[in-house]
Amino acid sequence: MNPKRFMIATLLYIFGSKSVGEIAKALNLTLGDVDSHLRRMKKEGYVELRRTLTLKGPRVLAKLTAKGVEEYERLVDDLKNFVLKVRTEKS
């Protein structure tokens, strides 16, 4: 699990679709960084990218796919279960 990709997924999971610029600003990442992570996420089917025209000019909007949402929730549940398991084993 890449922490930057997890943060991008978290942002899209909470707020719905966001432009590449908005993601970069919100997470303090460079545009290139966001772009490359989004492309990777798109390749895995977690994100869909859509070109759109806004009042501020053309933008690329990123949005989690149904698979992305499902995987995000599964990952969070798995992590919670893992922490719980480790704690139980320790005690």
Binding site: M1, T10, Y13, I14, F15, G16, S17, Y72, K80, F82
Partner: protein, 201 residues
């Protein structure tokens, strides 16, 4: 390592709550924005319409509802950051059906009987009930929404609708508008209260 994973899991859990919070809060804010703007708009139209007693003012007022609805939708999108998200299957059609069926029923009835001006109040109540059944309930079942503002607004509107027939003309319309604003505001506040409760559950 374990504490890092726990932090990530906590962040994910918080994200889940925020997601539902924004959807529920957007519903509450929508009620306040739509209720306030439409209430004020119709008060002005009624006042001018009564002053000049011209049907054209009401026809113009009815047409003005379309750009006003877009303005309200724009304001909701601007005030709630989590509004742009995935939709229910055929959500657009569900919205249209919810409003078209009661409007078509009212128009059909108006051909057979004389209907009072405040018929819109009953139409709105029936539309809200359909929105609850076709949109609100599926969203709640999917765990994406925590409040039922459409149901909460529709029940008192439908219950008070028959009482308006007992009132004299003009007073009935003004009462309908006042009650509508009241139920809109209460439903909006209720949705916001339910949304804020998410973080204390």
């Amino acid at each position: 390592m374990e504490s890092n994973i726990e932090e990530i899991a906590n962040l994910g859990e918080f994200a889940k709550k925020l997601r539902v919070y924004f959807r529920t809060a957007s519903m509450g804010i929508s009620f306040l924005i739509f209720g306030g703007i439409f209430g004020g708009y119709w008060l002005v139209i009624f006042s001018i319409g009564s002053l000049y007693n011209s049907p054209w003012i009401f026809i113009g007022g009815t047409l003005g509802v379309i750009p006003l609805a877009f303005l309200c939708a724009f304001l909701v999108a601007k005030t709630v950051p989590g509004i742009r998200r995935e939709r229910l299957p055929n959500e657009g059609a569900r919205w249209i059906v919810s409003f078209i069926i009661p409007i078509a029923a009212a128009i059909s009835i108006s051909f057979l009987y004389s209907v009072p001006l405040f018929i819109w109040y009953g139409v709105l109540g029936a539309s809200f009930l359909l929105v609850h059944l076709l949109i609100e309930r599926p969203l709640i079942s999917a765990g994406l929404l925590k409040a039922k503002p459409f149901l909460l607004a529709s029940i008192p509107i439908l219950l008070t609708f028959p009482a308006l027939f007992l009132l004299p003309p003009y007073i009935d319309s003004m009462t309908a508008l006042g009650l509508c604003l009241l139920f809109y505001s209460l439903s909006g506040v209720y949705a916001l209260a339910r949304a804020s409760k998410l973080f204390s559950e």
